[in-house]
Symmetry: C2
Subunit: 330 residues, 2 copies
């Protein structure tokens, strides 16, 4: 029997929500924070220090992914990774997820199983101990994965965007341009002659450029560096999701400072503009010992906005999914 | 200026995510549980007794609602109410929501504002003190609202589905058949001659049957009776979402008992089969003083399954959205 066993090829509509959930839940990782897991009206989770960190993010077929490019495992992995990166960017340790999936009735159960396996492998690889504690399965014309993630600050203060001070160093953990390069490659070579996403061509691109396409389709943000940065005294931190330029300006605005970046420390032009890097951008007091994953890319100055090599940088250098058009949308 | 002011008639795609969120967040209710609210990578919430209750549920255009029948305010209200009912059914006090909305780029900002107002009014009316602490706005071909709700057990044990014991009484708070009757009315009279949902006809039905259609489109579950039931010693409890017959069997199965219902205590046949009642079904030890909203509708016996007036009731008597077809889907 294959991974789907006797139900291979059956659809969500044929089996019904209850039967599908019964197959999915055993595949999902458990969390030691679970006091009461799936199966009742709600789950109960532990908050040892009397607080919990919460974030939510959604992936939608069309704007956020194409099934011609992403495997179900990729989708589960990325849905976990992007949400857990927001938890880590607060300096918290990811503890649990709840996952709402909406899928067309003709969706093969193997897709949902692959998605569950991706959630599990993403959690186990990037944030060991983080489990899936609840979920929801709905019918929709458009495939959608909405994740809400939770984290534990372990008694520490959250690291906000607003704490950067003149004199701090600016540092990043993770690669800034690889995911954007992967997307460029998929747009250029993972499409058919009419420009539509094409599975066979995408597979060829993935084989030739595994690092770039992997960073885009199944990213591995340096989640452990979030709590490590908090312990090292980080004054501000965020998850670089819309491009370094946009996200660095967010810290500058929230903190009332200027961030000045050193172009020689950046991989390429795409480092400033490329979305979905899911690197951690943080500021540290002068003299702080940075966690091993971080490298210095600039400094915090008095003033406002963003500069590169001392010159004001006001190009947008990033993307807003509504203004820039949907990725892979026909 | 109208409620949308200078931006009336503008769309999500024209304004972009950031500008829309800036208009939406001030409309949303705040929660005293908020340690850190919207604006950073994640929110931080208080868990005074070291635990938090979590549930997630999604509403999708087509299977779960039709814009021809529901106003944006209805959608926000119902998305809050249905999730908060799951929190209350654990015996917890609802504290906060995070809300992920996916909408087509041509969505008028007035729809998103109406949705936010419905979330606010639903929280303030049904669960005062419950606030919206975070969210996400995405582009999708299909309008979707995914809510994750949080609650505080205030030091009590959660009320599970598994605690009913022979000799307990079965009681319900809320109306069982009204929401289903409202849906029947909308299907019968809120459609055009081809059977498609029709806004003008739905308005006429709403004017003539406000209680029935209101229970379906903007339900008011008795949320305060959830914690009240826990304080009164409830042994098992759930939110009646798929019909009393299906949900009573869930308590019977989880508890290893039989539930026997008294048909004379039910409003109509629809009380057993009708979905989306969002009443609270609970069992209490013999002699317990029931909170004022609850009425006795049966008793717990040794055995298994569900009976009505002592006779085994094995009709499905409820619905699974995948098996029964999508509501209002063309």
């Amino acid at each position: 029997m294959g991974p789907s066993g006797a139900l291979a090829g059956r659809t969500l509509g044929e089996l019904g929500e209850a039967a599908v959930l019964a197959r999915i839940f055993p595949r999902l990782p458990e969390s030691p924070a679970t006091i009461l897991g799936p199966g009742d009206d709600a789950a109960v989770l532990a908050a040892p220090d009397g607080r919990y960190v919460v974030t939510t993010d959604t992936m939608i077929h069309g704007p956020d992914f194409r099934l011609a490019w992403s495997t179900p495992h990729d989708l589960g992995w990325k849905a976990a990774a992007t949400n857990l990166a927001d938890i880590a960017a607060m300096g918290a340790v990811p503890t649990a997820l709840v996952v709402a999936v909406a899928a067309p009735p003709d969706t093969d159960i193997a897709l949902l199983e692959g998605l569950a396996d991706g959630l599990r492998d993403g959690c186990e690889t990037l944030a060991p101990g983080c489990g899936v504690v609840g979920g929801d399965l709905s019918s929709s014309a458009t495939l959608m994965i909405a994740v809400t993630a939770f984290g534990d600050l372990q008694g520490r203060s959250p690291v906000l965007r607003s704490g950067a001070r003149p004199g701090d160093v600016v540092a990043v953990s993770g690669v800034l341009d690889l995911a954007a390069r992967g997307l460029e490659l998929l747009f250029a070579r993972g499409v058919d002659d009419a420009g539509h996403p094409d599975a066979a061509r995408a597979l060829a691109v993935r084989a030739e450029f595994p690092a770039e396409t992997g960073a885009q389709l199944a990213p591995s943000p340096p989640l452990l560096d979030g709590p490590a940065a908090a312990l090292a005294g980080a004054t501000a931190m965020l998850d670089v999701s819309d491009g370094l330029a946009i996200d660095a300006r967010r810290i500058a605005t929230a903190s009332g400072v200027r961030l000045d970046l050193d172009s020689a420390s950046l991989e390429s032009d795409l480092s400033l503009s490329g979305g979905e890097a899911h690197a951690l951008l943080a500021t540290f007091p002068p003299g702080a010992e940075l966690p091993v994953g971080f490298r210095v890319i600039g400094k915090v100055l008095a003033g406002e906005g963003l500069s590169v090599d001392g010159r004001l940088y006001d190009a947008r250098g990033g993307w807003d999914p509504y203004r820039d058009g949907a990725v892979g949308e026909r």
